[in-house]
């Protein structure tokens, strides 16, 4: 698998984009795999009683899924040395149906001396940002 060459990268370069979908099964699978069993992610009544529009995806499911774009681009999961985000808007997951999440990765900073690149992720649902300041620092 080829790795990106830091010498050829410039701020503003788009590293790639993808669309990911979540259905209720994806939420249940993530709940089990992560151990986060909060019912707002699988129980409609509980979610509504908590003041939410309905069942929402785990913020960590969104965060954990969209970084795959960066890992696949970098060619090595261990290259992601720092990864952060703020969660701004819950991702509602209908039943039946799917939530559609659009991800675009852009080079935000190139530090040739440190051998690192910061990739900024734009993560939206229906055009609205669900993650803000989603940034992955990648060692190339």
């Amino acid at each position: 698998m080829s790795r990106p060459d830091i010498a050829t990268l410039a701020v503003g370069d788009v590293i790639g984009s993808r669309t990911v979908t979540f259905d209720r099964a994806a939420l249940v699978r993530y709940a089990g795999a992560s151990g986060d069993l909060n019912p707002i992610h699988w129980n409609d009544k509980f979610a509504k009683d908590a003041g939410l529009p309905g069942v929402i995806a785990h913020g960590m499911l969104t965060m954990g899924t969209v970084v795959g774009l960066v890992v696949d681009w970098a060619g090595d999961p261990g290259a992601v040395v720092d990864y952060q985000t703020r969660f701004t808007k819950p991702v509602e997951v209908p039943n039946p149906g799917t939530a559609l999440i659009e991800v675009v990765g852009t080079v935000g900073v190139v530090d040739a001396d440190a051998g690192t690149v910061r990739v900024d992720l734009a993560v939206t649902v229906d055009g609205a940002k669900v993650l803000v300041r989603a940034q992955a620092l990648v060692r190339l």
Binding site: D49, G51, G68
Partner: protein, 161 residues
């Protein structure tokens, strides 16, 4: 309203979390991570790792287990049905790999309440214990090799928020 007395509190290194290959594969499937280094030992070793590599947010599994010492404490006054995740940050000092025995030191860094909303920031310092060690020693300067720092902020809405 989160109990402000917990700000600045630290907890001792907790019981080890054993990172298993199948757990890494299961978590990778759950976040749609298809990179072969999460699934295939030959691919992981080909990249220079001793075993399967965890996805970048896998440390949340370890961190949330540790954080429950604090958030599940009735004295902390955190109503989990009114919690939303505000932010999260992972800093990897080295990648987590299958076979790691991880122990975590939890710090409650900040508790701020404004009106009906409390913001609580926790920090998990995750260490890999040496192979022959089974429980973290309270006397040791450090519980092991520092592998990751996980900083998480929760927003807790009061009853009328």
């Amino acid at each position: 309203m989160a109990n402000a007395d917990f700000e600045g509190r630290s907890y001792p290194a907790d019981a080890p979390y054993s990172v298993g290959r199948e757990k890494i594969r299961e978590f990778a499937v759950a976040v749609g991570a298809t990179h072969p280094a999460h699934h295939d030992l030959v691919a992981a070793r080909g990249l220079g790792y001793p075993d399967l590599v965890a996805p970048p947010t896998f440390a949340v599994v370890v961190a949330q287990r540790t954080e429950s010492q604090y958030v599940s404490d009735p004295e902390a006054d955190i109503d989990f049905s009114r919690v939303v995740h505000a932010d999260e940050r992972f800093t990897h000092h080295r990648p987590i790999v299958a076979g790691d025995e991880l122990t975590t030191v939890l710090h409650v860094d900040r508790i701020v309440s404004r009106g009906p909303i409390s913001m609580v920031t926790t920090r998990c310092e995750i260490y890999a214990m040496a192979q022959h060690v089974e429980v973290p020693s309270p006397e040791a300067d450090t519980p092991g090799e520092h592998v990751a720092t996980v900083v998480s902020t929760l927003a807790i809405r009061g009853e009328d928020a």
